[in-house]
Symmetry: C2
Subunit: 166 residues, 2 copies
């Protein structure tokens, strides 16, 4: 794993910025135990190396009027690579589709969607997704309640793993 190219301070930086991405550099430096300038240099390096893909404010979807969250399992008629990528390209265009993952097993894709209300999701479902070329089966499941939604990765798992390898 490439995480071995990172020293413990780098991993601490990533963990801290994942938890609070708007922390000042001096606060971050204090937490990871070095002074501010090298800390900033490490952050820049981590950004350029792609370990940090970006920073995002986590907004409350419900408060903003996106009351509905739906998972859609999509099966395609043809799984030829060109057909797969055509479907993927369409998913990237649909703003209500926030995530799209290609899966193994009976279902080809899982889509995580948001919508202001049920009726606008239904409109998307019938007018866009179901009428999309090559789409075979679609099974949708409404999210009744959200239990856990942690962004990113569990850094404690990573640390345990590296400790055992040493």
């Amino acid at each position: 794993m490439s995480a071995t190219r990172l020293d413990p301070i780098d991993r601490k930086i990533l963990a801290e910025l994942q938890a609070d991405g708007r922390m000042t550099n001096v606060e971050l430096a204090k937490r990871v135990g070095i002074s501010a300038p090298p800390c900033l240099r490490r952050v820049r390096t981590l950004e350029e190396a792609g370990y940090i893909r970006g920073y995002h404010a986590e907004v409350d979807a419900r408060e903003l009027g996106f009351e509905v969250q739906v998972f859609a399992m999509v099966g395609l008629q043809s799984q030829a690579e060109s057909d797969l990528s055509a479907f993927e390209a369409r998913c990237r265009e649909w703003p209500l589709v926030r995530e799209c993952h290609m899966l193994n097993g009976e279902v080809d894709f899982i889509l995580k969607c948001v919508a202001p209300d049920l009726s606008s999701f239904q409109t998307f479902l019938t007018a866009e997704l179901l009428t999309s070329p090559n789409v075979g089966s679609v099974k949708t499941s409404l999210v009744i309640r959200g239990t856990k939604d942690e962004p990113g990765v569990p850094f404690d798992v990573l640390e345990n793993r590296l400790r055992q390898q040493a």
Copy 2:
């Protein structure tokens, strides 16, 4: 929808911070077309009102050694509220489970999991999830490739909607 309590500048602020959460306040102010001090006041207000739940660095899970991503559909034997919340509490404890959503339909929960490799996920699956009390059926699907993974909500959809209501 409570988004009507927000004016267009507030929504622009949220959209910009969702796209780049580490932007400086002056840069943000410039983009939304007001001067820095009122912009900062708006951001603080949005944070305190809960529209902004936090800021996070988006880290590259693969680069950090989390090679495997899995969706698990879980059916419980009892759907009594106390049994549901007991399972939810367990999900919150498992670090490999990043998301847990309660669904309608045949399956009770969908779990989004990450793991360093297949074998450590299998260990989690057999030693933790499958042996957990009240767990009936578990169907897992490996993510073959990620197609789209946009955090947050589509602000353009929100703007279109508000425009039509007016």
